[in-house]
Amino acid sequence: MKKLIAAALAAGLLGSARAADITVCIWGTITGPDALVNGMSYGPRDYFEFLNQTKGGIAGNKVKLLLLDGRYKLDEELKIYRRCVDQEQAVYVNGWSTGSVKALRDQITQDKVPFMTQSYASEVLDPQKLPYIFMAGPTYEQQMIIALRDLAKSGGKNLVIMHPDNEYGRGPVNVVRQSKVIEGNGLTLQDTIEFPYDAQDLTAQMLRVKAKNPDMVYVQASTPQLLVILRDAAKVGLSAKKFVGNIYNISPAIPEQLGANAEGFRAIQVYSDFGSDIPAMADIKAFEAKGNEIQKRDVYYMKGWFEGQVMAKAIEAAIAKNGGKVPDDIAAFRQSVRNEMEGLKDVDTGGIVPPASYANHQGSTQARMAEIKGGKYVPVGDWIDAR
């Protein structure tokens, strides 16, 4: 029976090609609990595709792209990582969930493969100990602190934090709570409310919030959960104005599905929105005009496009260092890409984020608040550096 299995495996192995010189491997949640924000996996794919179609790839070499579905399942993601690193010999890997990146962080260092994480967890950000992991903006904790400062500035005092019962929710909230930064800003944490990440009904939790009557409710959750939160907040008579979310709560789905109940909701914005008047948007439009379908028209797509930009820049620089040729040795190529990535300075991102540098492995750490007004996210305030 194991022969059969081995045969099936061998068939699977032979089925994959290894022709391309530059392989970039992306895995996202194409389907799964967080699929609403998966524009950030389509973004980098489309950016590389855009390079392939308009510039003949990077330094004349077409980029071979893989977009795989990790389904937000740890074992699936671990499997995909091995496929990317081993079978596909990817020079750069872009991966999804906080859990998987944490599980893989030591192996990424061992494998010496440049890795762009979609997660902003501070636990995977450490330029010294984790020299191969890069992220695309301020950490969740930094985003939360921006909101806290905003509350303090506007004279608010009382705070309630809500988060789902997963790593993405509980982790950063614990870090911020234990760092005493809340008290440091003169604020009081009245309550922390955890809820099941797949909850469909949060009425009772919203009643709890209402009983505390806070000045601000900070939500460390993803868009699907935020939809439930704001809907049930309206149900119990809480205004969306009190709620502030992070980067994952800028989604057209929120005003679309909630209408008036979403008015006044604020979220942290790190990337310019899809459709804003910036040079990068012209590229995206040009890409679409060539008959490419853009799966998600939202800020996460912009995040992904930005990731594509910096990843491509690092690959391009590594090839330039090697005399314009793609290095034959994948290990050397990866090493060089990592070094170039860290050396990126003031990269022009076509206005998606302010010029980005990667010495800190984060690119941009600037963010601003955006508020839903008339069914649209409108920036309310300037870029603030989150550090």
Binding site: M1, K2, K3, L4, I5, A6, A8, L9, A10, G12, L13, G15, S16, I30, T31, G32, L67, L68, D69, R71, K73, L74, D75, E76, L78, K79, R82, R83, V85, D86, Q87, G99, K102, A103, L104, D106, Q107, Q110, E123, D165, N166, E167, G169, R170, G171, Q295
Partner: protein, 341 residues
Amino acid sequence: MSRPVLAAVLLSVLAVIGTLLLGRFGAYMMHAVAIAAIGALSLNLLTGFCGQINFAQAGLLGVGAYAAGLAGNAGWDLLALPVAGLAAVATAVLIGLPALRLRGLYFAIATLAAQFILEYLFKFAEPITHGVSGLLIKPMTVFGRPIQADQGYAIVAITLLLATFLVMHWLRRTDLGRSFLVVRENEVVAKGMGINVARTKMLAFMISGFFAGIAGGLIGFTARLAHPESFGMSLSVDYVAMIIVGGLGSMPGAVLGAGFITLLPEAIQRLGEIFHISDQLSALREMTFGLLIILFLIFEGRGLSAIGSRLVSARGWRTRQGGRAEPLELQKIKSSQGGLE
């Protein structure tokens, strides 16, 4: 050595050689199959041999992963795996004490409850499990030497699979093993024969739990993270599907089923990539999974093992093989109320 034992040893040696030839990804798949096979054999012992349906298999695997992780991180070396097994045995006893007093359907629902409660506890007991972050696990060490390569893990998993297979093969021929079958067939008859039904079921659950714990420990070591979301209800369903698709009560069937269910998503993934339908892959994968379960149950209740033996047998149709690990006829266990004949 009897023929099935010889065959199992030979196949394992082949699998180890295969693993060394395959790359890292291949080795990873191989070891995933081997681990799943240990888990499936464990479930098959309880469900296939003893007739008790267990929806808490994923929970038991989880207990094993956490226990192995804690023991491994504390430097217990190879002992970490038996520790994982024993931790799962303890859990099985805790579930079994109340649940095994119930029969059939109600036992199944009690294990369903246990599964959800275990999942909750993994998230809740932060001081032990590190809650939703999951427990980071150091690489497994064998006599002080850490295993880094996926090939190494594959060889460990295959070796343990062989050991599991042989132990169960032996167990089936003991009086205890035979009493499992009697309990499955008819509890009243078993009682009449002087078998202590409750004790027999508990022993089946404990032995099953031990191997589930070991499989869980291996999962923890290779993932390097024991994470609550990795041991959810859907994994329990996967394991039930493995023994159903493989052929309930058949040990080669359980191994085949494990391979089939583990490799199926990857096969569909690759096919999908060839035909450029990657956006619908996930739906397609789930659809195939669901359909396969249904079709197997309707048209081939004895699963892959029956199809396998039909293919192997030169005489064509052979519904029953003599002597050796034959696929067991599905039994007519009617629920006590409202069933139709």
